[in-house]
Symmetry: C2
Subunit: 430 residues, 2 copies
């Protein structure tokens, strides 16, 4: 995606490691960490955070963030989805930075939140620098990236990709409608839509949520693109019989068919996969689900991801073939219902290169990697140049109360973002 | 279990097929079927019945039955569990007949109910015969054989095998306590416990709930015994990781371990099984259960049944060995929790022989078979001589609204029961 990064550049504004030149924009480490810890108090759950979109903790955390953004002189808006936006005043053009502040249930304290506090701290540092900037720094905290109601809700809205119908139909797994959640949260205000005349691009910092930086011994991962995702449910329909009285040869066991499919997945996908292909069977259901009843219906949720569209096609095709084969062999109805087809995408190569150069400026050799997870950056990239970077997750853990990142890595990530912003608002833009 | 049945005996009381001798005890076919259909109105659900224990339909159906038993001069009692008992008056000894009238949710109209109405019709026919009997005919409708709160609840209580603690701890899968269900139903009265000085034995008629009579072209199956049952849950514990960002080689996927176990079950049990062995994986759960999260916990419910205790032991032993092997191979915690060990039992051979002779008296060659399902008879057999017989289930179906039996087979079963009762109360007893 971008050329290999060479020797570290001299920094004009940031404090270089060798202390040769004075910093103009200065990230304050203690303040950064303190704000991150303060945000984690909203919805604190054991060592993690439970701050799902539209929960009271989410609402309160957004009020807190609006105060912080207002304090540094940004023009603060919030829309009915809860998206919080701080606009740099008195500029015609700005670079947008940020992430999401909602979490999964019983999640970690950094996923999304770190990128939001990075944006707060970087904007604050630029405000404090007193340097007149030709291009401002806008800050965003997206809503419901985690999909409690609708995955990537806030960034889709900002990118103008969300319809009224999407909002009207979205609901939580327990059935609660998004529209009810909006009313309960008390959010109002017109949708905040990205102003393409104003915004020159988007940068997002995030934890890796995987172990690859750790395994490679790197501190900064520059994201080259987002893996495409396919999700499907595989269903078999047989007949419920009494499991004590029905001879084995006379059964139409939907569970057995689904187990055969699950066994096949690992061997077949091992053949079809590339170095970064991943797959998962995340749920399985047998019905009626009693120990003494032969399952009449069985269902698996299968997901796989890869950066190569052709490989995704071959994997999906193999799934359809296998289902048809199982139907022939067992006489059961075996079906495949594809619920998600997200194509692989790439980040903006110019912005990604700036992120890599920023890391190199700070003496860090970045790692290039594709993101297996979806992020707000992937959505915003559909409407403007966008790129993102990762810092290491301890043990590769995320979406869990054990999620954590070394404090020095958190600080380094914020300095890389500040440096990239500095490069972009002072250089010619993409 | 009993000697092969020879040529049909002459019936003294029942109308022989060749019409050689007059009937004394006469089963009235229309009345039998009408009562069965009337009972099926309580909790009617499409073509089946939803009359789970302690439901309003169950309560109402028991009131209806008490009226019918009172009409024919039996002394009617009901206890706090809902068990309904009609005692033949003015006798010191009696033969007990009956079954259960509760159903599974959305079950069939015959499972249990048929045996209760058989008992009503047979007792009624003997009352109407005007013949003085040395031994009376008592009728019982057990409660909750299906285990909505506690499997075989009513028969366990009648057999004196139920403790106060059992009642106190039993609850429905949604958490409702049995004691609350008793209060809601308004049932009261001391437990009805089988009077061993009075009762000489127990006979139960039931649908087969399987396809073996149908496959063999027989109408009456005399049950030689009840298969032993083992139930266990197999659990694996791994780690929840993001399925988009965690490389395949770095996962601790509990679901994959459980799928490997499921595949093994079919091949291993095929080796270990006898002609009548059955097994079932009735439920599977992966947690947290999201498409994009590697399962951290996975669980299967495994059940197997056989008439041979040694085979059950070998199968259970193989399960433990496989779980230990999977734990070694995967490094995950894999455990086996055995929740049920019911030993195989036999029915009383003298009573089973009388049932077979009764069938033969009516010109039917009975089939001997072991029951894969548990029945109230299995419990009552622990406290007095007990036996049971089956009539064919169309398509082998049960526990389903499609459950049915040909009307002529229903009638034949009732006539076999009447003939067996006739033989037993006039012959020397076991």
């Amino acid at each position: 995606m971008f050329a290999a990064v060479g020797a570290a550049h001299r920094s004009l504004w940031l404090r270089p490691r060798q202390n040769e030149e004075p910093a103009v924009v200065e990230i304050k480490n203690e303040r950064l960490i303190a704000d991150l810890r303060r945000l984690a108090e909203f919805g604190k759950y054991k060592t993690g955070v439970d701050r799902v979109a539209f929960s009271p903790a989410d609402v309160a955390s957004r009020d807190w963030l609006k105060e912080r953004l207002g304090e540094i002189g940004l023009l603060v808006k919030q829309d009915r989805l809860g998206n919080v936006y701080g606009a740099w005043p008195d500029v015609d053009r700005a670079l947008l930075i940020g992430s999401h502040s909602d979490t999964v249930p019983r999640g970690g304290w950094l996923d999304g939140a770190m990128g939001v506090i990075y944006a707060l701290e970087v904007a604050r540092a630029f405000r404090e620098s007193g340097t007149g900037v030709p291009i401002g720094v806008d800050v965003v905290a997206f809503q419901d990236e985690e999909g409690t109601y609708l995955p990537l809700l806030g960034s889709k809205s900002l990118a103008g990709l969300l319809s009224e119908g999407d909002v009207g139909h979205a609901h939580r797994s327990d059935g609660e409608a998004l529209t009810s959640a909006i009313a309960s949260a008390g959010f109002s205000g017109d949708p905040i839509v990205a102003d393409r005349h104003r915004l020159v691009g988007f940068l997002e910092g995030h934890i890796e949520q995987g172990p690859r930086l750790l395994a490679a011994g790197r501190k900064i991962g520059v994201v080259t693109g987002f893996a495409g995702t396919r999700r499907m449910s595989i269903k078999a329909e047989g007949r419920a019989d009494h499991a004590g009285t029905t001879p084995m040869t006379m059964r139409r066991d939907a569970g057995r068919a689904i187990f055969a499919f699950a066994s096949w997945v690992d061997s077949a996908f091992s053949e079809l996969s590339g170095a970064e292909t991943v797959w998962n069977i995340g749920s399985a259901t047998l019905k009626p689900g009693a120990p003494n009843v032969v399952p009449s219906r069985a269902e698996l949720a299968l997901e796989f991801r890869d950066g190569d569209l052709g490989r995704l096609e071959r994997m999906e095709s193999a799934v359809h073939d296998k289902a048809a084969g199982l139907q022939r062999e067992t006489g059961l109805a075996v079906s495949v219902d594809v619920t998600t087809r997200v194509p692989p995408t790439t980040t903006n190569s110019k912005l990604a290169e700036e992120l890599a150069e920023a890391a190199a400026d700070l003496g860090e050799q970045p790692m290039q990697l594709a993101s297996g997870a979806g992020h707000d950056c992937m959505i915003i990239g559909q409407t403007m140049p966008a790129a993102m970077f990762f810092v290491p997750s301890i043990g590769g853990r995320s979406h869990d109360i054990d999620e954590d990142t070394a404090e020095e890595d958190i600080v380094l990530g914020c300095r890389v973002l500040a440096r990239a912003v500095e490069r972009l608002i002072s250089n010619e833009l993409p």
